[in-house]
Every structure is written in structure tokens, then in C-alpha cells.
Symmetry: C2
Subunit: 284 residues, 2 copies
Amino acid sequence: MLPLRGAMRDTRAMSTPVHPLDAATQLEPLGSGQYHGHTSPNYANMVGPFGGVIAATLLNATLLHSGRQGDPIALTVNYAGPLADGEFAVEASPVRTNRSTQHWQLVMKQDEQVAATASAVYASRRATWSALETRFPDVPAAQKLQAEPNVERAPWTRSYEMRFVEGALRLSSAERQAGDSRSTLWIRDAPPRPLDFVSLVAICDAFFPRLFVRRPVWAPVGTVSFTTYFHADAPLLAAVGEAPVLGTARAQQFRNGYFDQAAEVWSEGGALLATSHQIVYYRQ
Amino acid sequence: MLPLRGAMRDTRAMSTPVHPLDAATQLEPLGSGQYHGHTSPNYANMVGPFGGVIAATLLNATLLHSGRQGDPIALTVNYAGPLADGEFAVEASPVRTNRSTQHWQLVMKQDEQVAATASAVYASRRATWSALETRFPDVPAAQKLQAEPNVERAPWTRSYEMRFVEGALRLSSAERQAGDSRSTLWIRDAPPRPLDFVSLVAICDAFFPRLFVRRPVWAPVGTVSFTTYFHADAPLLAAVGEAPVLGTARAQQFRNGYFDQAAEVWSEGGALLATSHQIVYYRQ
């Protein structure tokens, strides 16, 4: 007899094929907020998995939890150490549930070592006075731009279709510098997949390290802390469907081994879906 | 015989007076990363303490810890529930220590209820290629601007000297709207206190909720998640001393009960000391 996990996977595969992102972020619930997961070659980075898929997997642990209330509002992931390709454990604990908000703490472990920690805030939202203050960038439509070739060093880029408006990755050995670190691009999952919180948070980390745009020479880099604020609720994400979203990212400062980057992700229709921030280690 | 805690306080008071911020963020170490603290009326908000002083107290728990390595790079605080005026407990756990980074998880409790959770990343920094990308705002010198009167509803504002360039709090009952939510101001502790990580993180939360600038009608608001990235190391903060710093904050979107705000804090000399982000609940 097949073990339960294998059996569940097979049944699902027979009806609709599992999207590679769903396979990569799939978690087997072991009860009491404990999960078992496995990295995927489709989202591999140079060392271990793409950070965005680690964040998406951690978020998924809260989404799958029977006790969760509402939609995610905020997620912070701290990348504590390298995650090797292979199996890992996730623990998700709802540490406080209020009337309209719920607070989570998460840990991802591999061989009993902490690989990542995270916190998430969920909320039940309702319609209020609303206003968009930042502006949708002035960009050509996605279909007017060429899809960017994948980056050999970063296999996870095969899992995205990226069409750059500005700031594509152009690494070289020359000591030239760009005027700024901004990238603006249309991006969606490859193959296409309806947008949800899991894919949105991975996209929020799909901007290359800003260092490589500003100073396009290869260097060791690694995100240490990553935060995403979800402005969209589930119906707004569902309305995006498989359409590409517009992302823009820039650094504010590179200083003594760390730089920050700030990103916005927009729907084609001009809705600001998420704002995201990270601080990244670099060596030069 | 006086209990040890009282005795330590008395000795300290006899030599140099304790700054109100140090009194408010003071923690009594109980061993194994456990601390005991007490709220301060100098940093009271409408309900419980000013969120910035909660963040500063949590950061202080890592700064006081005998096992800490390096300087803070990132701090995220999730405000899980109201903290009543009075005593509280803090637990700080170094969950992973690498060669150049250290990851922390923190919990603040009151009556066994989680009031806040936090994560911090510390790092040992060294000089690298560096570049500032965002620009110091075009502002008049601090001494050319009037100090803003305190806000009656928010007693903690007495503990800051704020000189607004734009976007001061002007609440009214009229249904008018400002063009944007930006505030730019010179700010320092009152009484003056040399800048360090503790005071810097509190200042990062000293920008009023952007909702009140954009739509200046009183409403219930509360930060749910707050992240600060420290671009400055200890020597750069020490060089600022008691001089005011320049802060600027704006929202990107107000939508269905939540808005974000992004802030920068600069030295008079034009060094970007910290960038900070938060997502805030509002009811309308």
C-alpha cells in the first residue's frame, strides 16, 4: 500500500496537474501546527531554494492551519541560515487571536537547526474609506515587451516570465555603475497560475538583489530579513487571475555590508496589491 | 535591606540622572534571556505605551543580553494586543548565531498574555563599497523652525521635540483631505539624549499615523507590524550625539482598514540612519 502522502499526491495529479509552485510550497500537516515539506528544483537558487518560495511556504503553513482567521496582512521572514535542498520542518503557532486580527510565529528547521523564522499577521477586513497615494508607474503594456531569458545561475528564474521595462540584470566583469538600482518589470508565474497570497509573496522577493543593478558585478549576497504588507484581499487577487503583475523595486542605501530594497506590486488595472521590503547582506 | 533592583536604581540616580527613555526601556535581567519591565507615564499613549517605546524596550532586551554579537540590522515588532500600564515580562532568545549574523525571537507578555512578538537580526559589519541612493530632503535647518506643541491626547509627545517642515498634525472635525500624507520634521528626545539604537528605533515610530495627515479626523488606529532597518552602526549614531535628526514619512495606500507607512531618518550631516515601515489598522 502506498503511504498516505504519496497517495494524496497521485490522486491530485490524476485530476489537475499540480502547478510547480504548489508542489514547491506543499506541506504535509502533522497536527498541532507542525508540517513537513521538501524543496523543489524548480525554485532552486545558487544555494538552497529561492527566498521567495521559502517565504511562500511559511505563509502557506498559516493558510493551511485550521485555526486561521482572515487574510494575511503582514509577513516577515528572517533567513537565519542556508536551507539545503531536501526535507524540512515548519511549525506555525497562532500566539494571539483577537476579534479582527491574529498573530503568528513560525519556525522552519532542517536537522534541528533553525533555517528561518517568521511572523505573520492576519486580519478580517471590511470596506472603509480608502485612498491610493503612490502612483502606478508609467509603463508599456506587458505584451509590448520581450520576455527576459532565464538567469543560468538562478534556476528559479525559469519559474517566472519577466518582461523588463528598466533595470534588467546585466552582470559583467567591468567596474561600471548604473545611475540607480531601480527595476520595473511585468512578471507572472511560468507556467501561468492564478494569483493568490502564496504566489504574490514569492513575486515580492523575485526582484534581483539591487546591488547587481546598481553595480553589476557578481558578489555574494543574501537576504537576511524580508517583510511584505498585503494591501489586497483574496477577491482582489482572484480578479487578477493569470495576468502579469507590475513590479518595481529600488534600494535606498548600500552601506558596509547591507542594503535595503523596497518594492511595489501592482495589478494591470492599477491596484497596489503589496508593498515589500528587505535588507540584504553583501560582500565586496 | 533594600531589594537589589531598588538599590541599583538608587545608586544610579545619585551619580547621573536617568534619562526618561532609559527609565522607560529599563529591563531587569532575570537570567536565560528573561527580563522584567515596567511602563512609564512619560511615554504613555492613549491606550498603554507609545509603540516606539515598546519596540525600543524589545530591542533593549537583545542589547542587554550577554550572548549578543554585533549591532542590530533589522527589528520587526508585531503588536499583538494592548499593553496596559504596569509591569510586563520580556523573553529574548538567540535562535541562531552565525559567523557574522545573529537571529533573535522575542516575546513581551503581560499576565501570561502575548502583548507583542518581535524578531531582530544582528550583524558584525565591516567597511565595503557603499552608496546612498535616496536623497536627503531639501529642508530648512532645525533652529529655523518652531517647536510643535505637544499633543494632549498622546502624552509621549512631551518626550520629543518636533519641528515640522510639513505635515504637522492638525486634527479637526471637518471632512477635508490633504493632498498627501507626507510629514517631514526635525526630531530629538526631550530632554536631549545622545542617539543610540534604542532612541533611534523609538523615533522611527514617532511619526503620527499617516491617516491623520491625509484625512485629519480622529479615528481609532493601531500599528499591527513595525519594521526598522538600521543602516547606521554604533559609531555613526554616537557621532550624531544630541543633535536633532530629520525624519520623513508617508503612506503608500489606505485600503479597507489598513494602511502602510514608510519612513526615513537622517542625520543633520546627510547620513541615512534608518529606514522603517509599518502597517496600521484604522476604523472609519
